[in-house]
């Protein structure tokens, strides 16, 4: 079908009052639930699943998609305000978003995040509409070897997002990879480092690591900081509209982030995390404002949000055309489709073209709704920061507890959160950063799985990683990025050394 007529018909479908209503319900609920630590789109979608029994498939899918990206946006609100990332990709948003909030620029950070998400979502949608078949076949060109190379690239990018020494960044990524091996080895079924605890068989849930290292760890730090009244002065809570200069600074990152995001989004599972990390790392090298990255640069909020949201849109392509869910939430989308007897697969674009185009158009509507809904809300969110911290932090800790408990309804997870929270605090004392760790932790199991599968399929020949064209190119890009980071760090050190020597004397 012609793209324009398809999209036009889709727009008519999406603008039907019923679909519009469910789209609104979806994004509203998603945002609201996404803000709560640990409770993400998973909980929201499974809560709505029974409701969708009574809806027509398009309305249901539109609502579920709305919940999904609404929750992504809600997650970035929690990242900015509380330094609690709901997803690994929003851990990148934390890097600059939270310092902005501490700087009294929470409003601008939230606005930047909303606008960048919108821009990214829009660009992702256009890419999805125009390139869906091409992106579906891109995913089909990716075997284990190629996935391994993509993940490697993402990991090197993740180590480059760190503000401190690059060595510490890489060390954190590798530590994440290593701890990601805890649990049952999915290739042999043998238990690794579980200490015989049945709950450890599936490893540590991502939410626990994120809540512990970021949420609990940061909270312990900030109790005394706030008791001392550290950041209660000179904050312009009311200003959340970015200046002309800030608008201009955001434009480039949004385009680049969305471009990178749309590409990686089509790779199930790895997409969003790799996209945000790579986009941030690239931006940190290119931006004229790179010196401020990690200290509250607006570009540092815009770029991962744009990347993440465009990847969220294109992630629907493998879900719908290959039936491969990139995340637990995407598995729910497949589940919802199955309720209507729609089996995701190559024929979906043809057999259910109205559904596909209705969905694409609903992304447009949903993103507009999200923007309309959230811009006025920013003032409200920022006002939350005015609540004295002595009331806020016990509430946040309880929200973390309930959020973690809701993942598996298992008390053991709370004990693990305690352990990771303490570890997160110690990491801050030792000046290690949690974001590279989290990304290593998420991508580690996938990396190992693909590595072992690739070796099995190549009958033990490791040279396939270099000789297959796509993976060879990706590995070359990885080496380039690594060399660039180390070179930049060495140059910075050489430039910094005289100054240090002076202060030492």
């Amino acid at each position: 079908m012609d793209i324009l007529t398809g999209f036009g018909q889709g727009l008519l479908v999406a603008l039907e009052p019923v679909n519009l209503l469910y789209c609104f319900i979806g994004v509203f609920l998603g945002t609201f639930i996404g803000v709560l630590p640990g409770i993400g789109s998973m909980a929201a979608i499974s809560m709505l699943l029974p409701l969708t029994f009574h809806l027509d498939p398009t309305a249901a899918l539109v609502m579920i998609a709305g919940v999904y990206y609404g929750a992504e946006y809600g997650g970035s609100i929690a990242s900015v305000l509380m330094n609690i990332p709901g997803t690994p990709s929003s851990s990148i948003t934390c890097i600059d978003g939270y310092p902005m909030a501490r700087d009294g620029r929470a409003g601008i950070a939230l606005f930047a995040s909303a606008v960048a998400s919108f821009g990214g979502g829009l660009i992702g949608m256009v890419v999805m509409a125009v390139l869906a078949p091409a992106l579906a076949s891109l995913a089909l060109n990716f075997g284990p070897t190629e996935y391994f190379a993509v993940i490697l690239l993402g990991l090197v990018a993740a180590s480059a997002v760190s503000n401190g020494s690059p060595v510490k960044g890489i060390a954190m990524v590798v530590a994440g990879l290593m701890l990601g091996t805890v649990g049952v080895d999915i290739t042999t079924g043998a238990e690794r480092f579980t200490m015989g605890i049945p709950e450890m068989r599936d490893g540590v849930h991502l939410v626990i690591v994120a809540m512990g290292l970021f949420g609990v760890g940061e909270l312990i730090v900030s109790i005394r900081a706030n008791a001392a009244g550290a950041h209660q002065n000179a904050i312009d809570y009311a200003r959340f509209y970015p200046s002309r200069k800030e608008w201009k600074a955001m434009a480039g990152p949004v385009w680049r982030g969305a471009g990178i995001g749309s590409f990686f989004g089509a790779l199930p599972g790895t997409g969003q995390t790799v996209a945000s990390a790579v986009a941030y790392a690239v931006e940190k090298k290119l931006s004229p404002n790179r010196a401020n990255f990690g200290k509250g640069a607006i570009e540092g909020v815009a770029v991962p949000e744009a990347a993440n949201n465009s990847a969220t849109q294109t992630a629907f392509i493998p879900t719908l055309t290959l039936g491969v869910p990139g995340s637990a939430s995407m598995a729910l989308v497949i589940g919802a489709l199955m309720m209507y007897g729609i089996v995701p697969g190559p024929r979906l674009l043809v057999d259910h073209s109205d559904l596909f185009w209705g969905l694409v158009a609903s992304f447009l509507i949903g993103n507009v709704l999200l923007l309309i809904l959230n811009i006025p809300m920013i003032g409200l969110w920022v006002r939350l920061l005015q609540i004295p911290y002595r009331y806020m932090y016990p509430t946040i800790i309880v929200l973390i507890c309930v959020g973690v408990y809701s993942v598996n309804n298992n008390v053991f997870d709370i004990w693990l959160t305690l352990a990771f929270g303490w570890a997160g605090y110690l990491m801050r004392l030792f000046r290690f950063e949690p974001a590279p760790f989290l990304i290593g932790f998420v991508l580690g199991p996938m990396m190992e799985e693909q590595l072992r599968r690739a070796m099995l399929l190549s009958r033990g020949d490791a040279s396939v990683f270099l000789t297959r064209p796509i993976s060879g190119t990706l590995i070359a890009a990885t080496v380039l990025l690594l060399a660039w980071s180390l070179f930049a760090a060495m140059k910075a050190r050489r430039a910094g050394r005289p100054a240090l020597a002076l202060s030492d004397e």
Binding site: V174, A227, R390, L429
Partner: protein, 162 residues
């Protein structure tokens, strides 16, 4: 955190020892952790290149981390900036709050669990007096009941003693 320390320093706090010893400690902790994974991985078996064993990936990453942690130690030992100031009271109180929630939520239910956890977490902040802490606990507990069980419908029991 670092900003805060700088501000603290300006307000006439006592000087802190350099970060070097603390940084080295962090590197040592990583080294110890990587040793555990390398030894554990070797016990699990590393397999052959064609069929990598259960222990192969832990051994590879463990060895890489061991080398990196040596580099971290070497780097941090030269770091003469001031160390962070640990806050063990908050560390303990937040840990206790999580522990109390874990112990109580299954046994006595969500509402009392949230109440106890909130009060425990609020202990290290002296600016809120005890009645205030109790009131905060009650408000948060009731709020969680309404939000998570009433509104979102999570399968938790509000009260579970019997």
């Amino acid at each position: 955190m670092r900003d805060f320390l700088r501000r603290l320093r300006r307000s006439g706090e006592t000087a802190r020892p350099p970060h070097a010893w603390l940084g080295a400690l962090g590197g040592l902790a990583l080294l110890a952790l990587s040793t555990v994974f390398v030894i554990g991985g070797l016990e699990l078996g590393t397999g052959t290149p064609r069929r990598l064993g259960t222990g192969a990936f832990p051994v590879i990453t463990g060895l890489a981390l061991a080398i990196l942690s040596l580099a971290v130690i070497a780097g941090d030992l030269r770091d003469s900036s001031e160390a962070e100031r640990p806050d063990w009271i908050s560390f303990a109180a937040i840990g206790a709050a999580l522990a109390i929630f874990a112990l109580s939520v299954g046994r006595i239910g969500l509402v009392p669990g949230v109440f106890l956890a909130t009060v425990t977490a609020s202990l290290p902040d002296p600016s809120l007096k005890f009645p205030g802490k109790a009131a905060l606990g009650a408000v948060v507990a009731l709020g969680c009941w309404g939000l998570f069980i009433g509104l979102i419908g999570l399968p938790f029991k509000p009260f579970a003693w019997n």
